[in-house]
Amino acid sequence: MDGEPGAPPLMLNVDAFEKLDRVIHERGRLAIMSLLAATESLSFKELKEHLRMTDGNLSVHMRTLEESDYILVHKSFVNRKPRTDYTLTAAGRQAFQEYIQTLEEIVKQSQAAEQWNATPAREMKPVLHTGLAPAK
């Protein structure tokens, strides 16, 4: 028998979900943050190639990240052509690290919950769930 009907369900800590940064949690922006976290800086063109996003879509995400102070924008000219480079700010890097830590926390909690559910009833302390002493 898996688990025990009378056992208190192991609840996941809701705080972990609440801690997820809403700016980063969006799929496109998470991808942008992941790419920028692994490099010193990336140009608009490089990000577009990696993510296969449209110019408009990428611009909107970059503006959101810039408004949250997660990225720094550097505009320049290379061979008379405009070039825009993006770098993570210290706040952006920290937010990204915290986001990863929260995800890891959720994974750990989920694994603990699965382990609890998979534990056979005979291995649990009977007094906790049934109030009966173990039969000898």
């Binding site: 996941l12 979900f17 609440e18 997820l20 809403r22 949690h25 998470l30 991808a31 992941s34 790419l35 920028l36 976290a37 692994a38 490099t39 990336l42 490089e46 190639e49 990696h50 990863i100 995800l103 890891e104 959720i106 994974v107 909690q109 989920s110 694994q111 919950a113 699965e114």
Partner: protein
């Protein structure tokens, strides 16, 4: 904003893949390795069977191997719908350049002082150094290639000189063939993942 453990796990895997994509050079062609190995073996045949001169033979092999490498890498990049000359490829070329330049300088110096016999060991050692420098930005198999060449180079320099056809065939020939086969046939994540990134 709820998320299950499974979803969190999948998101972490996607993050890892994206981080790898922006730092790791993945357009390593197994065919280029096989071509380089086959060309080195052809060099051995030319030296043994036809007695071709030492330096022109091996420089010819190097030039052909570089050309084959560019050709197969370009083909792989095209197949992956990626440009050949990217930030990652530039990083790999820059990592390789100091060892390659040192090899050219030492070739000129040792040739000048009549120590040609030392060159295979020097080339092995410096190709090993170059491969290890590249391995920070490439899959694991390049690290293994670098270590193998550093070990064989050290061995050749201390215990040699050996017949150049034999030592070049065993290392630049056989080792590159094995590397090429691992990359193009085996392609196991354990060999092709970048060890520098978190799991």
């Amino acid at each position: 904003m709820a998320m299950t453990g499974k979803e969190a796990e999948q998101t972490l895997a996607v993050i890892r893949t994206l981080m790898e994509r922006s730092t790791s050079y993945t357009n390593l062609s197994g065919h280029a390795g096989i071509a380089a190995g086959a060309l080195a073996l052809l060099g051995c045949v030319l030296r043994v069977q036809y007695g071709t001169p030492f330096l022109p033979t091996w420089f010819g092999v190097l030039t052909a191997a570089l050309a084959a490498s560019v050709f197969f890498t370009a083909a792989l990049a095209r197949a992956n719908q990626e440009p050949l000359w990217t930030r990652q490829s530039r990083t790999v070329v820059l990592a390789l350049t100091p060892a390659f330049t040192a090899a050219l300088i030492l070739t000129a110096v040792l040739e000048r002082v009549g120590q040609e016999a030392m060159l295979p060991g020097v080339w092995m050692l410096l190709w090993g150094v170059g491969a290890l420098a590249m391995s920070f930005f490439t899959p694991r198999v390049i690290w293994l290639l670098g270590v193998t060449f550093m070990v064989t180079g050290t061995f050749t320099l201390f215990l040699g000189p050996f017949n150049d056809a034999l030592s070049m065939g065993a290392t630049f020939g056989a080792v590159h063939l094995t590397y090429g086969i691992i990359l193009s046939v085996v392609r196991h994540p354990a060999w092709t993942a970048n060890p520098a990134l978190p799991h």
